[in-house]
C-alpha cells in the first residue's frame, strides 16, 4: 500500500509531527498542510497507513462526513491519497520510542534511529482493547480467547479462522461487527453477553449485526468463569443484578471453543504519560483546551487517544481541527496566539461522564463533545457559570453509546472571570 520510508534519515526538522497514521493522524496531517505547515510528517508503527481501518471491511464509513458509504479500506485509501498528493511525509513501520518536552521525537525503523524535532506535535496514537484481565475473569487460561479487534485483524487481514463455536462478551461495536463477521465465515455464534442493562454499541449495529442474523443478545449477563486446560472448552455465564453482582442460581455453562472480548477501549497514552502530559482519569486521554492542545504547549491530541469516538467520521472532523491548530502553532510560534493566563475549567456534573475540551482559554465559539452516564428519555443539557445558565440544549433521548456534540459561544467575561463552567443533565 505504501512505499518504504525514506532512507538514511537520522535527523529531521519539521513543522508538525503526527504520531500515529490512522484516520485521526492522516486527517490532522492533511489539515496541518492546508493551514500553512510546510513540513508535515506522520509516523506509524504498522507497515500500512489507516490504522484499524484496513481490517474494517464492513461499510458505513464516511456517511456523516461525506454523505457516501465506504468500507474501512476505501475510507483509509481516500485519506492516504490526499495525504500523498499534499506531500505529507509518511513514515511507516516506524515506532516512536519517546519524545521530550522540547518536542524532540526518538523513533526507530529498519533504517535506524531517527531524531525528529518538531515545532508542534499531534498525538494520534489511537487506543488498545481491554483484555480479560481488565475484567479479571477467573478460571483457567486456555487458548481461544481473543479481543474482538485482534480476531478482526486475523480474519480480515490474515485470512485466519479463529474459532468455530463462539461466545462474545461485551456489546461494543467491534464485538457486534465481529459476531456478524464470524457468522458469515460459518462459525456458530452462540450469543453476545452484556453486563449492563443496555447495549454499549450503536443501536444500528444491534439491528444490522445481531437481529438480522438471529444472534441472541443477553443483557444483564456476564461470564463468571472460563474453562479449558489447553483450548477453551466452555464458559459459565450468569445473570447480574442492578449492582452488577452475580445472581446465584442463574449460572449456565455454554460449550464453546472461542471467546471474543469486546470490553471497551483504552486510549494509548504511554508516550504522553512519559513526558508528563496531564491525563483525564475518565477519558483516559490528555486534558485539552478548545484548540486540542494538551498541558504541554505545542502538543495537540486527537482521535481515539484523546477520547474513544463513536464513529470515524466525527473523529476525523475533530482531528482536522487539531491539525489546523498544530499548524498555526508551528507557523506563528513566536506570536503567542493564545496564552494560559486565564483558564476556565469545564466540569462535568450531574448525569455527565465527561466533557471535551476540559478547559477553555480564549473567548469564541467552542465545539464540545460529551458522554452521559446512563441512558435516559428526553432531557436538557445545561451549562452554568457562577449560577448563571449560559447554554441550554434539549436532547431527545440519551445513551452513553452516543456522543453528544454542540457548540457554545464563550464570552470574554467568562474567560476573565476564571470561574468554572459546570455541565449538567436534567430530566
Amino acid at each position: 500500500m505504501v512505499e518504504r520510508g525514506i532512507s538514511k534519515m537520522s535527523n529531521l526538522e519539521v513543522d508538525v509531527a503526527v504520531i500515529g497514521g490512522g484516520p485521526a493522524g492522516l486527517s490532522a496531517a492533511i489539515s496541518a498542510k492546508e493551514h500553512g505547515a510546510k513540513q508535515v510528517v506522520v509516523i506509524d508503527r504498522n507497515s500500512w497507513f489507516g490504522g484499524i481501518l484496513p481490517q474494517c471491511i464492513h461499510d458505513g464509513f464516511g456517511v456523516e462526513e461525506m454523505g457516501i458509504s465506504m468500507t474501512g479500506p476505501e475510507y483509509a485509501e481516500s485519506y492516504i491519497k490526499i495525504a500523498k498528493k499534499k506531500d505529507v511525509h509518511l513514515m511507516h513501520e516506524t515506532m516512536v520510542l519517546q519524545f521530550n518536552n522540547k518536542k524532540e521525537i526518538t523513533a526507530v525503523n529498519r533504517e535506524g534511529l531517527h531524531k525528529i524535532k518538531a515545532s508542534a506535535i499531534v498525538l494520534a496514537m489511537g487506543c488498545r482493547e481491554k483484555t480479560r484481565w481488565n475484567a479479571m475473569i477467573p478460571g483457567d487460561r486456555p487458548s481461544g480467547i481473543y479481543t474482538a479487534g485482534v480476531a478482526q485483524a486475523l480474519i480480515n487481514l490474515y485470512n485466519i479462522m479463529v474459532g468455530k463455536n463462539v461466545v462474545v462478551l461485551g456489546s461494543g461495536d467491534v464485538g457486534l461487527i465481529m459476531a456478524r463477521r464470524l457468522k458469515f465465515e460459518g462459525a456458530n455464534v452462540l450469543g453476545v453477553l452484556e453486563i449492563l442493562p443496555y447495549a454499549s454499541g450503536l443501536p444500528r449495529n444491534i439491528v444490522q449485526c445481531l437481529d438480522d442474523y438471529g444472534i441472541p443478545l443477553f443483557l444483564n449477563h456476564t461470564i463468571t468463569y472460563i474453562k479449558g486446560k489447553e483450548r477453551l472448552e466452555s464458559v459459565i455465564i450468569a445473570q447480574v443484578d442492578e449492582k452488577m453482582n452475580n445472581i446465584p442460581g442463574t449460572e449456565k455453562e455454554i460449550k464453546c471453543d472461542t471467546l471474543l472480548l469486546s470490553l471497551g477501549l483504552i486510549p494509548e497514552n504511554e508516550l504522553s504519560k512519559n513526558v508528563g502530559i496531564e491525563i483525564d482519569e475518565i477519558t483516559g486521554g490528555p486534558v485539552v483546551n478548545q484548540f486540542f492542545e494538551t498541558s504541554l504547549r505545542g502538543v495537540f491530541a486527537c482521535g481515539n487517544c484523546l477520547q474513544v469516538y463513536d464513529t470515524v467520521d466525527i473523529l476525523s472532523i475533530d482531528a482536522k481541527n487539531a491539525g489546523q491548530h498544530a499548524a498555526e502553532h508551528a507557523v506563528s510560534q513566536k506570536k503567542k496566539i493564545h496564552g494560559y493566563n486565564k483558564v476556565t475549567k469545564i466540569i462535568p456534573t450531574k448525569g455527565i461522564k465527561y466533557v471535551i475540551p476540559q478547559m477553555v482559554i480564549k473567548p469564541g465559539r467552542v465545539h464540545f463533545t460529551l458522554r452521559v452516564k446512563k441512558p435516559g428519555e428526553a432531557s436538557t443539557l445545561h451549562i452554568v457559570n457562577k449560577d448563571k445558565e449560559i447554554f441550554k440544549k434539549k436532547l431527545q433521548c440519551v445513551t452513553p453509546a452516543n456522543m453528544v456534540e454542540f457548540d457554545v459561544n464563550i464570552s470574554a467575561d467568562i474567560i476573565t472571570s476564571s470561574e468554572n463552567l459546570e455541565v449538567e443533565l436534567d430530566g
Partner: protein, 501 residues
C-alpha cells in the same frame, strides 16, 4: 512439532545414538533443567523428556521467583541444606549465565507484639542455618525504608533475592542443549521398564533406553515411581494463586514483604514481591486440590489476595491488578498433616539406577543448583564423569529496549530486523522474536516467544504483536498456522484459513 523434532534428530544422528542415553531426566522444570545443565559439563549422554511444549511449563514458571535465604527451613533438613547452598551459588551462576538476580532483601513483618516472638523464632532458625545479616527492627526503621508498609516490627533478611524463574529455567536448559543435552519436548513418558542394566522408556514419541533415570517430574513424581515400583508416598497438590500489578506501581515497595508464616500449614503466607521485570506479585494462596493440573484462578481467592496484600500495603490501589495466575506446589504431606515434609533426594532402594527427587516444592527454585550438584555426585558414583574439553558458554542475549541509542543504532546497521518493533508495549524487535524462535530446544509456541523476549507480556497482552509473531512463524520458520499453539500441545490458536487463495 514434536514429530518434526524427532525427524530433525534422526537426520543428524543414527537411530541407535538417538535412542540410547546414559542419563534420562524426566521433567524439564527448574530441577530437571538445572541437572541437565550440571551434567552437560561432563562427557555423558543426557536426554530430558518434557511433556509440555517448553521447559518451565509447570510450577517453575508460576511462583514468586524468590531466592530464599533459609530462615524458613527446619535446621539440618535437606530443605535447609540445599536452600542455603543454592542461595550461595546464585550470584556466580548469574554472572556465568547472564541473568539478573536482584538482592533486594526481605522483611518478615509482625503486626503485633505476639508476632514478634515469631520473628525471633525465624531469626533463630536462620542463625542455625547460618543465614547472614538477620536483624529485628522496629516500625520506624521499616518505615524509613518502606514507607508504604504497615507493621509493628520486622525481621530484615538481606540474603533474600529475586530472579525471573522461567528465564532462569530456560537459560539453564538452552545452555545445556548447546552442550549436547537432548531436550525432547511434548514427549510424555508413558511407561518405564527396568531391564538388567538399563531402563526401557516408552513415550508418545517412541521408545528410548537409558542407564539412569532422574525423576524430576514434579507433581507427577509419584506416577513415574509407580511405573517401576510401589511408591511409599502420596502427592498432595496445593494450589497457589497470584495477582500481578502493573509496572506503574513498582515504586510501592523496594523489598519483598512477608507476613509471619501460617501456623497450621507449612506455607509462607500471602506476601508482596517485586519482580525483576518491575511488576509486583501478590500471593500465593494455599488450597489443597485433587487435580494436579487444576491451575485455575478463582474470584474468592483474587479477593482474598488483594485484601491480605492491603493489610501489608494499605494504600494498594484497586485498579493496579493486571493479571492473575496459579501454580501448584508438590507437597508430600496432606493438609491434615500440616503439609510439611522434607525433600527426598535419593536413589531407589528397590530399583537401582532410579534417582528420585520427590516433594521438591518451595524453596525448590533456590535449591535447584545445589540439588543438581548432588544428583551429579550420585550419578558419578556409577558413571565416571569426565569434564568436557569444550564447554560452550552461554551466548549472551541482547535486549533492544535496554541498550543505549548508540548501541541500538549499531545493531540496526548490522541487521535491519533490529529496527522493526514487533511488541509495542515492551519494545521487542523482530530480531529478538526470531532469536527466541531459534532456541536450541525447538520450543515454538506463542508463550515460548513471550517468556524469552517478553513480546506479549505488556499491557495489551499480545493485542498488537500476536499477528506479527504469527507472520514470522509462518514466513520465516515455515510453520503451518494450524500448528501454532499458545503454550501446550493441544492449545491450538486457529482453525485453518477462512478461504484458500
Amino acid at each position: 512439532m514434536g514429530n518434526r523434532l524427532i525427524y530433525l534428530y534422526h537426520s543428524r544422528h543414527s537411530a541407535n545414538q538417538m535412542k540410547n542415553f546414559q542419563v534420562a531426566i524426566i521433567g524439564g522444570g527448574v530441577i530437571g533443567s538445572a541437572i541437565a545443565w550440571e551434567l552437560s559439563k561432563y562427557a555423558v549422554d543426557v536426554v530430558v523428556f518434557e511433556k509440555g511444549s517448553d521447559v518451565a511449563s509447570g510450577a517453575s514458571k508460576a511462583n514468586s521467583g524468590v531466592i530464599h535465604s533459609g530462615i524458613n527451613s527446619v535446621p539440618s533438613s535437606l530443605k535447609a541444606r540445599f536452600c542455603v547452598k543454592g542461595n550461595q551459588m546464585f550470584q556466580s551462576l548469574a554472572n556465568e549465565l547472564d541473568f539478573q538476580v536482584h538482592w533486594i532483601g526481605k522483611y518478615v513483618i509482625a503486626k503485633n507484639e505476639d508476632e514478634v516472638k515469631e520473628l525471633e523464632r525465624l531469626r533463630e532458625v536462620g542463625m542455625k542455618n547460618k543465614v547472614p545479616g538477620l536483624e529485628i527492627i522496629n516500625e520506624a526503621s521499616v518505615k524509613a525504608k518502606e514507607p508504604n508498609v504497615a507493621c509493628y516490627a520486622a525481621l530484615w533478611v538481606p540474603a533474600a533475592g529475586i530472579v525471573e524463574p522461567y528465564e532462569f529455567t530456560i537459560i539453564l536448559a538452552e545452555n545445556a542443549a548447546d552442550n549436547n543435552v537432548r531436550f525432547l519436548l511434548e514427549t510424555k513418558v508413558i511407561d518405564l521398564k527396568k531391564q538388567k542394566d538399563c531402563f526401557i522408556i516408552k513415550t508418545n514419541r517412541g521408545d528410548f533406553q537409558a542407564q539412569f533415570i532422574v525423576n524430576a517430574a514434579g507433581l507427577n513424581c509419584r506416577e513415574i515411581v509407580l511405573m517401576l515400583e510401589e511408591p511409599d508416598f502420596y502427592v498432595y497438590p496445593c494450589r497457589g494463586e497470584y495477582l500481578v500489578l502493573d509496572k506503574s506501581y513498582r515504586s510501592l515497595i523496594k523489598s519483598m514483604i512477608y507476613p509471619v508464616p501460617e501456623k497450621d500449614i507449612d506455607v509462607l503466607g500471602i506476601h508482596v514481591t517485586p519482580t525483576v521485570e518491575g511488576n509486583i506479585l501478590l500471593g500465593p494462596s494455599a488450597d489443597f486440590i485433587d487435580d494436579p493440573d487444576d491451575k485455575r484462578t478463582t474470584k474468592e481467592t483474587m479477593k482474598l489476595l488483594f485484601n491480605e496484600a492491603k493489610k501489608i500495603i494499605p494504600m494498594l490501589p484497586n485498579k493496579a491488578v493486571i493479571n492473575a495466575f496459579a501454580g501448584i506446589r508438590c507437597k508430600l504431606a496432606s493438609k491434615k498433616e500440616g503439609g510439611w515434609t522434607d525433600y527426598r533426594i535419593e536413589e531407589s532402594k528397590t530399583t537401582s539406577g532410579l534417582i528420585n527427587l520427590l516433594g521438591i516444592e518451595s524453596p525448590g527454585l533456590t535449591a535447584a543448583p545445589a540439588i543438581a550438584k548432588e544428583v551429579m555426585q550420585m550419578v558419578s558414583q556409577h558413571i565416571d564423569l569426565k569434564c568436557k574439553k569444550i564447554f560452550k558458554p552461554r551466548k549472551k542475549g541482547k535486549r533492544f529496549s535496554e541498550l543505549s541509542e548508540r548501541e541500538q543504532a549499531m545493531l540496526i546497521k548490522k541487521d535491519e530486523r533490529w529496527g522493526r518493533i514487533v511488541c509495542r508495549c515492551e519494545h521487542v524487535t523482530e530480531m529478538e522474536v526470531i532469536q527466541a524462535l531459534s532456541n536450541p530446544l525447538g520450543a515454538k509456541t506463542i508463550s515460548s516467544v513471550k517468556y524469552r523476549c517478553r513480546a506479549g507480556m505488556g499491557r495489551c497482552q499480545g493485542g498488537f504483536c500476536t499477528q506479527h509473531i504469527i507472520k514470522i512463524m509462518e514466513n520465516q520458520f515455515g510453520m503451518n498456522i494450524n500448528d501454532i499453539k499458545m503454550q501446550s500441545p493441544d492449545s491450538n490458536l486457529f482453525y485453518g484459513r477462512t478461504r484458500d487463495i
